[in-house]
């Protein structure tokens, strides 16, 4: 390099060629360049789509998101009523909250400029503070493919449809350990499910225990307020899954199957005792009589026994379990499962008197006098009539009676073709049981398939097994053959009429659409009612019965302070096992409260 390097001196002057070119300056604020289409600016939350699960608040690495009780939003099952509030003095706009939002309500917008002299004004309620303009500016979103939430359920292994109609073997095979862990990992532990569960089980906790591989802790948590988890793990109506945060955009967490998996870790009575390690208080000398060994009665009995009460259950049938024992087919809930649960209860100190029908083998008066408190958990035993012509002919049978015969080991010849009336779980059970006897089964339901109150898994299962469903079919009469037996059933097709005021659509018969379905048996499954003939008249004044159901308060206490009631026969909740368990649990607390003074 010489001292004077002419090239090196002149080359930089090439920069002069830029003179006269239009500068690329963005003359902000007079001229704006839009932020990109997925810019991560200020948050926007669709308040009505948000369910307040708080997942955003949990993932936030900077603890910037608080859940706030927003007055304009009311909490209900499936919505905590809380909404996220972002501390913009913490936020780093990583958008993890967007990517984990199970509903997709939380988004980021293109808006990012916020300048102020007040450091206390950085608390930001997305969707409230930018209610008007926010929605149009949404830029960074997550859909089910980009979201970090796991929307796909681990499929449950089942017997093949063709295989399972051959026997009453359990259809559902249960999760393996890996499957259960994977499924439990999907749970975001928000706890919205606990509110929908009538019994408010500690769902996030036991699922988390399963996810961490602590199955025994999971069992222990489950037994904290549900003494019949094996039953719930198999046949629960699982309202919890209806409100699962993941269900909004994907599949709900298989809460029921996870519970089922957890109970499998304690396969014997000894194992249950060892895992649960129940603390039984000293006997306190007080006695409780329970009528009916169904889920309600058993739950009340179990927890009362743990509290030191002397509990005696009177059961009319030869087996405990009530409707779960007699109403649910064995391919859903095998007999040994029930026996194990009952045996465990008896080992805790619950006494069960089988084949003792109150009103016949023992009078209610005696029970009332002999015990400090009485719990009635009789359930609904009497089927409603179908209400059409010829329903008293041979070959027409109510579903629960049919199921009871089969479950007690009896037999009933359904012939070759069966018609089932109704759309609930009992109807499906009747249909699927009939299918197992080789019959060709058709379900007649007055509304659409999507209106069926039965579990969707049950409906699918039935269809797999070859059950045919005719929706929007209203039965009009049953046709006799010359021998006086059922020959067929006539029905009309219905159209759905939307109700004014937003009620659920009503089926209205289409005239002239009468069809006849020939069959050998008609199974009616349109609901049951309670039978109160055993209750002496003098109690009926205080134990108020309205529309066939006992009226109780929150403690499940009837008009007579000493008498409590629960299960399907009371007005509380829905007619299902988990509601019955909740009744039993609440009644236990009520009884404990009542008898506390005596202790």
């Amino acid at each position: 390099m010489s001292f004077i390097d002419l090239k090196g001196l002149l080359q930089p002057l090439g920069a002069l060629k830029q003179i006269g070119k239009k500068p690329h300056t963005i003359r902000f604020p007079y001229e704006k360049k839009d932020a990109s289409d997925n810019y991560r600016g200020l948050h926007y939350n669709e308040i009505n789509d948000c369910i307040g699960c708080g997942n955003c608040s949990t993932i936030c690495p900077n603890a910037a998101i608080d859940m706030i009780d927003l007055l304009e939003v009311e909490g209900n099952a499936g919505d905590s009523g809380l909404r996220p509030r972002i501390d913009n003095g913490r936020c780093c706009w990583c958008a993890l909250c967007v990517d984990v939002c199970p509903t997709g309500s939380l988004n980021l917008t293109k808006d990012y400029i916020y300048v102020t002299d007040d450091p206390n004004s950085f608390l930001w309620m997305p969707g409230v503070d930018n209610k008007e303009e926010g929605k149009d500016l949404i830029s960074y979103t997550s859909d089910t493919t980009t979201s970090l939430s796991m929307y796909d359920r681990v499929p449950m292994r089942e017997l093949e449809g063709k295989e399972r109609v051959k026997s009453f073997a359990e259809v559902v095979l249960g999760y393996t350990e890996d499957e259960a862990r994977a499924e439990a990992e999907r749970c975001i532990s928000c706890g919205l499910c606990t509110e929908a569960c009538p019994e408010h089980m500690h769902i996030p906790e036991y699922i988390n225990a399963i996810a961490r591989g602590e199955d025994e802790d999971a069992v222990k948590i489950i037994y904290d307020n549900n003494p019949l988890p094996e039953m719930c793990g198999k046949v629960c109506t699982r309202r919890c899954e209806d409100v699962c945060a993941l269900q909004v955009r994907g599949d709900a967490v298989a809460i029921r199957w996870l519970k089922r998996y957890a109970t499998e870790t304690a396969p014997t009575v000894e194992a249950i005792k060892e895992v649960v390690n129940p603390v039984i208080e000293e006997p306190n000398g007080l006695t409780v009589g329970i009528i009916g060994a169904g889920p309600a009665g058993l739950t009340a009995g179990y927890y009362l026994a743990l509290k030191g009460y002397d509990v005696t259950i009177y059961e009319a049938q030869a087996h405990a379990g009530g409707m779960v024992m007699y109403g649910i087919p064995k391919y859903r809930f095998p007999l040994d499962s029930i026996d194990k649960q009952i045996e465990y209860m008896e080992s805790i100190g619950v006494k069960i008197n089988y084949n003792t029908r109150v009103g016949k083998d023992i009078s209610f008066d005696d029970i009332y006098k002999n015990f400090d408190a009485v719990f009635i958990g009789i359930g609904l035993q009497k089927p409603w009539n179908i209400g059409i012509k010829n329903e008293d002919v041979p070959g027409v049978i109510p579903a629960i009676e049919y199921l009871k015969i089969i479950n007690s080991g009896g037999s009933y010849d359904v012939g070759k073709k069966v018609a089932v009336i109704g759309g609930g779980n009992v109807a499906i059970d009747g249909a699927r049981v009939s299918a197992r006897f080789g019959a060709e089964v058709t379900i007649l339901y007055r509304r659409r398939v999507k209106d069926m109150p039965a579990d969707w898994e049950e409906i699918e299962g039935a269809e797999d097994e070859g059950v045919h469903i005719i929706p929007q079919a209203i039965p009009t009469r049953i046709i006799k053959n010359e021998k006086g037996r059922v020959k067929g059933i006539e029905y009309v097709m219905a159209k759905m009429l939307t109700q004014e005021g937003g009620g659920r659509p009503r089926p209205v018969a289409i005239e002239g659409s009468e069809t006849i379905y020939e069959c050998d048996t008609v199974i009616g499954a349109i609901g049951q009612q309670a039978d109160f003939t055993w209750l002496p008249e003098k109690y009926k004044e205080s134990v108020l019965i309205e529309r066939g159901k006992i009226q109780v308060n929150n403690d499940r206490q009837t008009g007579d302070p000493k008498i409590f009631a629960g299960g399907d026969a009371v007005k509380f909740g829905n007619a299902d096992a988990i509601s019955a368990i909740a009744d039993g649990f609440s009644a236990m607390k009520g009884i404990d409260k009542l008898l506390l003074k005596k202790k």
Binding site: T58, S80, L82, N120, S189, C190, L192, T194, P204, D217
Partner: protein, 191 residues
């Protein structure tokens, strides 16, 4: 991996003279475990005899349950292009480790940082005691038993206005009138 020949050879070359244990992790990764006394001779041997002249990094892991500090020396050969991890565990109480800045000058930086962050003494280490911190008089902060969140909350100003935050689970528990038993609470959602 089928051919881990040079990794195996390296392992033998390092473990045999010093009678130490080690394993081939995968291709280009070999680790050996030795006492704290042998570390410097292994490193010097690898540097001078085997051509592992590049000190890629040094670090320390606080295994508080074992009451040990694990020191990891990662060295690399530009010829073989293999990483050799030399690992050793030293006592967590009064940790003292041999100073290797004679072998690599830049080890001095790592060691000063470790002295500050973990409280490990390196006799003969040159350099001011403060590396990244200034006038620090608490426990060495990278130790597992130092709770940085608690310290920050006590020391620095926390802006008020966020007290009305609610926990989703607690709100639901309250609303449904139940209670979560204590033994289950450890499985509740972290907040």
């Amino acid at each position: 991996m089928t051919d881990l020949i040079k990794e195996q050879k390296l392992l033998e070359n390092v473990t045999n003279p010093f009678k130490i244990k080690g394993r081939v992790i995968r291709n280009r990764r070999v680790e050996v475990f030795c006492d704290k006394e042998t570390v410097s001779s292994v490193l010097l041997y690898a540097k001078t005899q085997l051509g592992y002249i590049h000190l890629a990094h040094m670090t320390c892991i606080d295994w508080i349950d074992e009451n040990k500090f694990e020191l990891i020396y990662t060295i690399w050969s530009p010829v073989e292009k293999v990483h050799l991890f030399v690992k050793t565990k030293i006592d967590r109480e009064n940790p003292v480790m041999e100073n290797i800045d004679k072998i690599w000058d830049q080890a001095n930086t790592y060691e000063r940082e470790m002295r500050e962050m973990f409280g490990i003494e390196f006799p003969g280490l040159i350099g001011e005691h403060d590396f990244a911190l200034e006038d620090w008089d608490e426990m060495p902060p990278m130790r597992k038993d130092f709770d940085t969140h608690q310290y920050a909350e006590q020391t620095y100003y926390n802006r008020p206005g966020r007290e009305d935050a609610k926990d989703v689970r607690e709100t639901l528990v309250e609303r449904s009138g139940t209670e979560v038993p204590d033994f289950a609470k450890k499985y509740s959602r972290e907040r």
